[in-house]
Symmetry: D2
Subunit: 384 residues, 4 copies
């Protein structure tokens, strides 16, 4: 089988999740290309070496520019915070590399547009890792919608709620600074929700937004992987939070559906609660990431006296991706979505096809997110 050489840039949470996916995809899926874990790139050689040994990356490199210009590299996998996506992705595109990039795509719409245009110009396969599209239950939701089982969509109700920064002593990590993260939950969480809404409902036309920052100053982190961080904050003790702690939006979709997006890092009790409801003229759909092996579906085609939301165990061979895993009723986890993404990404390269979501989708999501923040700042509805 033809081999493709992968360079992974970044080796934290996402580096681990991506490495796992590069290993598992060939075991569970019939691929047309064999990925080779060629090189992993990071700034600190020592922990990087350890990571490479553990995860089976052949080489290490501390300078990303060397990586993206290497002739033998076919795929650049960007597993870094948002502020580092743009330059690497544009350079990778210019060097003809296929790009697998973490979400959200960039710090702002302008960056994301440049990334999209560079990738398109280069003719490479580009992918933004809105991984939840490849959760089997969401794949099933998409099928039902495409088969007309939901009918005309009236509503999207999305929520992405976490609770990890409620403690005022939680430090000012890079996630809380606009120059590194792009935004708070509006960027990190609502980007997922907006992508799923675009995937399942369609494009968004009008946006109103509100946001808030409950804790405006936080202690500096003892150490940080973001080197430019210390300079960015005013004092040695405390620094300003420059992103939202919570951001809510209401929207009108181009097809007339009315929608809402609630994102927060101040939702006590919610760990990684990515929940949505879709209501249509023929049926409705509910999804909860914390029960990601289930989809709830209501159909008006059922006899009236037995209508109800049915909890579908999306663990059967008739469901997207599942036949590759375990027998009936055996659930999969968060990481499996990454395996699906890597598998589809490799097949897209092999077949010289596009994959979605790609940089266009990454850009379109940011367009909506940016409109949400603008609306929150101006107190006015924003048309996209």
């Amino acid at each position: 089988m033809k081999k493709v050489n992968v360079a992974l840039i970044g080796y934290k949470f996402m580096g681990k999740a991506h490495s796992n996916a590069w290993i598992k995809a060939p075991l569970f899926f019939d691929l047309s290309l064999q990925p080779v874990k060629k090189v992993v790139c990071g700034r600190h050689a020592e922990p990087l070496r350890e990571f490479a040994n553990k995860w089976g990356w052949e080489e290490i490199e501390t300078d990303w520019e060397k990586v993206v210009t290497r002739k033998d590299i076919d795929i650049i996998d960007i597993s870094l915070p948002p502020h580092l996506h743009h330059d690497i992705a544009v350079a990778a595109a210019e060097n003809g590399k296929h790009i697998f990039c973490e979400k959200p795509l960039a710090l702002n719409y302008a960056q994301s547009k440049e990334m999209y245009e560079a990738a398109e110009k280069a003719g490479v396969v580009h992918y933004v890792n809105f991984n939840y599209r490849r959760c089997p239950a969401i794949g099933l939701a998409k099928q039902l919608i495409e088969e007309g089982k939901v009918g005309q969509i009236f509503h999207w109700r999305g929520a992405y709620l976490q609770s990890w920064i409620i403690d005022p002593n939680f430090p000012l990590t890079w996630h809380l600074r606009k120059e590194f993260a792009g935004g708070g939950p509006q960027w990190d969480l609502n980007s997922h929700s907006v992508d799923l809404a675009r995937f399942l409902v369609g494009d968004i036309k009008k946006v109103m937004g509100m946001k808030t920052t409950f804790i405006k100053e936080r202690p500096l982190p003892e150490e940080t992987s973001v080197t430019t961080f210390k300079a960015a904050v005013q004092s040695q003790q405390k620094g300003e939070v420059t992103v939202d702690d919570a951001a809510f939006m209401i929207v009108e979709f181009q097809n007339g559906a009315l929608g809402s997006f609630d994102s927060s890092r101040f939702a006590t009790g919610r760990k990684n609660y990515n929940y949505f409801e879709i209501y249509g003229s023929k049926g409705s759909i509910l999804f909860d990431l914390e029960r990601m092996n289930e989809l709830q579906y209501f159909s008006v085609d059922d006899p009236e006296n037995v209508q109800g939301f049915r909890t579908i165990q999306v663990t059967e061979s008739v469901h997207p991706y599942i036949a590759h895993w375990w027998p009936s009723g055996h659930i999969i986890g968060y990481e499996h979505e990454f395996v699906h993404a890597v598998s589809d990404f490799l097949n897209a390269i092999a077949n010289n096809q596009k994959i979605t979501p790609n940089f266009y989708d990454g850009m379109k999501a940011i367009e909506v997110l940016e409109a949400g923040l603008k609306s929150a700042e101006s107190g006015k509805m924003i048309e996209i």
Copy 2:
């Protein structure tokens, strides 16, 4: 025991629910006043007579003005659509009657303000029947919040979703005309949600809203209890829907909490889904009216490894109102909230005290709802 004479005006859905409550309150609660079902008022003597016989109202009357001026009547119970509240309530107040009035209080803020001022001026006990405040689970939520178990509230997320008018052939009943109903789900459903949010979280400061009407014309109903209806519509065949089919809001509360309100009559699969989430620094609370005997509660005071949303069966004698009903674990239904309301209303009269929610609360809810519609129309955030 001292008796008080009640006059019920209206004998449809709410007339039935209220009659049931006037009968049951003395059976299950120890009241200081004994209500006498003196007279029921409606426009059509024939069905009214039948209703009175069945439900034990001593007399019938077809002219509400006669009822509100009767010397022997102590309480006016207004179980009518919104457009009929104002005149009756003001007249009742001027005649010194205590008033038990259905929600939403009026067609608009101006009306509701006049009602509130008239009732206050008259010194009568006035109550607006946001009945869900007297659901035991919501009473428990209130207790937890007052005891500090939720801490600083960060978020309210409310939804009130139904699905009874999705069929385009559903006729243009009075609910779909602004002059009778005041609004669509924004009035009928969000009024409940806004009242609960005010009860549990506090007053609202800023509002952004969006609304939509999916079906703009509907066939006329074959018959209607609203006499002025036929004149109100243009043609004999079809009439214009003049209220929202769905209305969403995002808000900022005075205490800084960020909130959302999604109301719709186009949520396929939802019958009477009144759901809310409250997130605070110490705990969180979830409520679902379709499981109204349960409250979900998360506490950060639990040991870290066993934290989780607990499903409290609010059916125990330690819970609000429950000791009056059945033994442990036996659930109550929708109608019981009305019994609680009647019981508390009678005790307020007996003790010469105020009761909440009253016309002030009815007025404050409408203020928010009106701001939501204004925002939807202007595309601008409205400060209250």
Copy 3:
């Protein structure tokens, strides 16, 4: 409308629930007979008088033998503990009274057989109040089974779990003495489950049982309504528990289905958890009394990729009994089942028809329960 005079014997928990039902049935249902709350009977005149005044019973009587021989009484409503059912029911039958009797029907199979035979011989309408048959969700389950939507039934899995006597200081009330109660949860709780299993699955052929009593001695109650109680216990301080604290059974039904029944008063966290699962060749059904307005239903007729247990809100006018209550999505409670029972009972009298469950069903349930206890004592499977 023709009137029928009712005599209620017993005025505690069940007396209250029955009185409420006699009041509400004529309000919400179209009856062919009008019940008159003629007389309530109990041993202590004082509290009885108070009860009668509150609930509208015209007269009181302290001697049940006088009540059952009164010419003007048409219906005897037995709302008493099991040890008092037999004599009253037999006497009532011999005097030609229709009988509405609480469950379990009697202390043992022999008693229940005499009651059944007496009632049949007298030709009166007899009913045993296994009230859950008239829960709308269970009515829907019955419909689905009768329509063949469940197919051949393979399994019944029933549990009835409570937790009110776990505290060793909970006193030795009559419920814990075999001569008054007949049994522990095997009698009180499994009687409900066995009746539902017979109703929905069919008759039982073979039984194996195990039982246990965790706390064998308890303090005597300070007072008790059961007059013969004091003599029944040995000491002044403590008395022996003579019934089971928990009783489990496994059974084979006549149709070949394999079933289980777990009943306990030692299930911490369960208040009144009456839960069952029915699995069939075409579909399956789950029911939870604490969510009695819901039924879960799985159908193999659904397309394979959307099969799942659907949560049916059994609150719609297409569902049994619901059209008499509130609009779509408004839940009912525990007490409503009693209203359904009274309504159907009166209609059975009016139409000179049988009603189920009747004394035959009460007897058949006890036959199974008795077999369960015998099996537990002998360590052998019992054939019925």
Copy 4:
């Protein structure tokens, strides 16, 4: 790091699950031994070669006797149907190999006893893969029980329900023949439940059982991996099902708890429903394998008005095994339990310690299962 050579015998469902675990354990856990995937063994060289290539096993072998006698092999991983466990395990033990063996341990108690004794005599580390013990939620349950949070246990209620053989045309695979499988769901499913009950509640003293076979003859499979199969069946067209389709038990534990075990392959709608409830004097626990990242826990230590079953997301770093995986709120799947098992097994070898569940536990589970079948056949309670 010291290396250990692993030989995997069997390469179907379990071979895949085990291979995945041998690969992932070193990536996510800090091991003291490095497993080398030395050889995979099966009867058919062709598919075996393909499997070995995909999953990275260095060599293949078609004769298990050669494998277990190889000097360079440290670990024998038996991923085969039950009838093949005994001979391989005994031989492996006699050759001093550590043994990782699939469940149920053997066809019957006698076999399992020999296996246990052989392994003990050889002093090797032996493990039976009741994998659910290493589900983090069950690990948490164990912790809570050990900390006294559940108190005296009153009840175990276990169910393991599937539905894959309801179709009468489902062929007579080896699972349906006693000589290959040992039993039906009693062996395959109740073995898991009994192991969990022993793990969490304790040993079982008395057993009553019932079983049934709904479909007594089935078409022969077109092909089968079990070579001796064709001879075992009478006709060319149809063969007799010689195991149970469903098996229920009620039991008394040594500590006095009363328990139930319902296992079936005829539970329409259930895919892999492994569910249990544990009720104790201080708290209760509920677990559902299809929501394996959750544990429900009720505590009597909570204030009375907020007691309820809390749904713990067992996805936090404070929970067993989770810190090795993903951040807060990211769920894991079925396969992860195998990784935990491999990791603990390797550490047991490295530290020269026992691991549980081991062959003793495998034997004790079979003792109970066998008693259940004997009770079903004799109609008598069996003491263990």
